[in-house]
Subunit: 338 residues, 2 copies
Amino acid sequence: MNIGEIAKRAGVSRSTVSYALTGRRPVSEATKRRIQTVIDELGYRPNAAARALKEGRTRTIGLVIPPAGQRLTDMQLGFVASVVDAAARADLDVLLSPSGGEHDRSFERVVTGKRVDGVVLMEIRLEDDRVSRLLESGLPFVGIGRTRHPEDMSWVDIDYETLIGRCVHHLADLGHRHLALVNRNAELVAAGYGPGHRAQAGFDRAIAERGLRGVHVCCADDAQAGQTCLRQLLADHPELTAIATINEAAVSGMYRALAEAGLAVPRDFSIAGVAAQHWAENLQPPLTAADVPADEMGARAVELLIRRIADPAIPHRHLLIAPPISLRGTTGPVRSRD
Amino acid sequence: MNIGEIAKRAGVSRSTVSYALTGRRPVSEATKRRIQTVIDELGYRPNAAARALKEGRTRTIGLVIPPAGQRLTDMQLGFVASVVDAAARADLDVLLSPSGGEHDRSFERVVTGKRVDGVVLMEIRLEDDRVSRLLESGLPFVGIGRTRHPEDMSWVDIDYETLIGRCVHHLADLGHRHLALVNRNAELVAAGYGPGHRAQAGFDRAIAERGLRGVHVCCADDAQAGQTCLRQLLADHPELTAIATINEAAVSGMYRALAEAGLAVPRDFSIAGVAAQHWAENLQPPLTAADVPADEMGARAVELLIRRIADPAIPHRHLLIAPPISLRGTTGPVRSRD
DNA sequence: TTGTAGGCGTTATCAC
DNA sequence: GTGATAACGCCTACAA
């Protein structure tokens, strides 16, 4: 079923059908109605490929996510959901590309095959090949996250440095002197994962500013690892009284390790972090954390991207988000242990 | 950058470039090399829209997921990941469509705009408009899940009826006489969500077969709700000693309610269910459950879809999966309480 | 082994 | 207010 067939049956030309649909030129009410009747009858829809070919745009955006093998954190899932949602509201389709490995055909197709009008890129590293590829391709894109030198791209990001700094200050205010930062998994951090490095920087700076003692440690992104990790940490550093973390998936394991060690939260030990709101609230006990507004970030990223697609020449926009810390009761005044 | 430009610079005709790329006709080594050089130089890639228009296929599949607003369970996320992964392995792109509401433009676009060669449909209801739409559209599709009368579609599904039946028998074997089924959220079940109804049927049948007493209850899909729900359940039915569930997201809350009531698992109370393996393992304590092989199911669905796209006339295939129950220690012999 | 030409379904330019 | 027609970029008979 194509536009020619509709035109024939409605007794008009193809262009008239086209204009009746797009409204880009006046068409008389009578013919418009006649055309619509035929369309409804035959269930005609414009062919997306033909339209894309002619118009030079696909009404589709690409969403580049971490490879499917490694499972998404709740926060990442939140980004995906909100991007898809925001795109749907703007009548844009979303093409998913799991990418990150080297030999990445999916990513190449998306970037290079004119399959999408623009790209939202997740899980950006400090040095990121995909960013370079996108920059040289000229395809509009927006990062959820940013590289080390992010001036020449548009992005939305969480200010992990500031937020972890705030966590440290908050804990310091409560009298804690020996803190640990529990980071994301070691491979990610070693690969230059921005949030990992920035959280570390924020931690170190705040620790120095307040004259505290701090250690950092990487931890795989699941509860099991959180348990093992904190067990080890408590053994190695019995003087610890508080933790700051960006590893939401590991927190419930940390709780278990603390319970195991006979430490009550927040009476004997405090935890604060950065996490998706939904996740922080659903932990037991609910985690005192800076609630990352994943919904808003995804929507903003899509918004920025749409503008950029409309006019690739506009200056880049940067949105650094530092939500306030929601106190939920996992932090309290220090209490000496013996 | 189009094929004509490449042809011009390589000093050959467009068709030669095309044939050099597709290999559908012999091209001399020399010209092939010359063409490749130009291509590498200019970074040429065939325009996907033009190719789709000419070939009548898009090399893209649609993945219809529950609307983004409601958050995905771990199991659903597993399906998405495995579908995307399997598609990428077959060099297929995935177009995501959040759908389920009525006024669903995204779904309509996918089904009707020739944007995809086929569709994987998730979260199918017993009566499902989307299935009817797809059937009448003639677009190849495969369900992860199935309708009430699923003979005329291809699908991969979990045999909730059998699995929950097995859970009940397992619990009965351990001496439990009073069981409850904790289902997914009430709206979903009321809307005819297949797994919910089939789990209930399996529960009722097994209960009857073993001459037990059983109640069922719906519960929203989060830990908080699980806690409230079980608290209520224990109050209303103090004689309960075990639970079977398909609501993985609520289990950790159920644990909390049990602890609250001074009931130890599995000493005083048993729980068994159906859940994503990753989720069951990460609960504390790890849940005795039929481990849903989400990876395999997504891969199978894509496999079926690819075959169906290649030849829409082949008979439908149905894959009903009933993984064994992994004993992880949340079920034990009944112990009378007083 | 290579070139020429037509058409996939749309939109847009030109003419009436 | 409407119709014919030329692109968009690719693939593939058909010719040479």
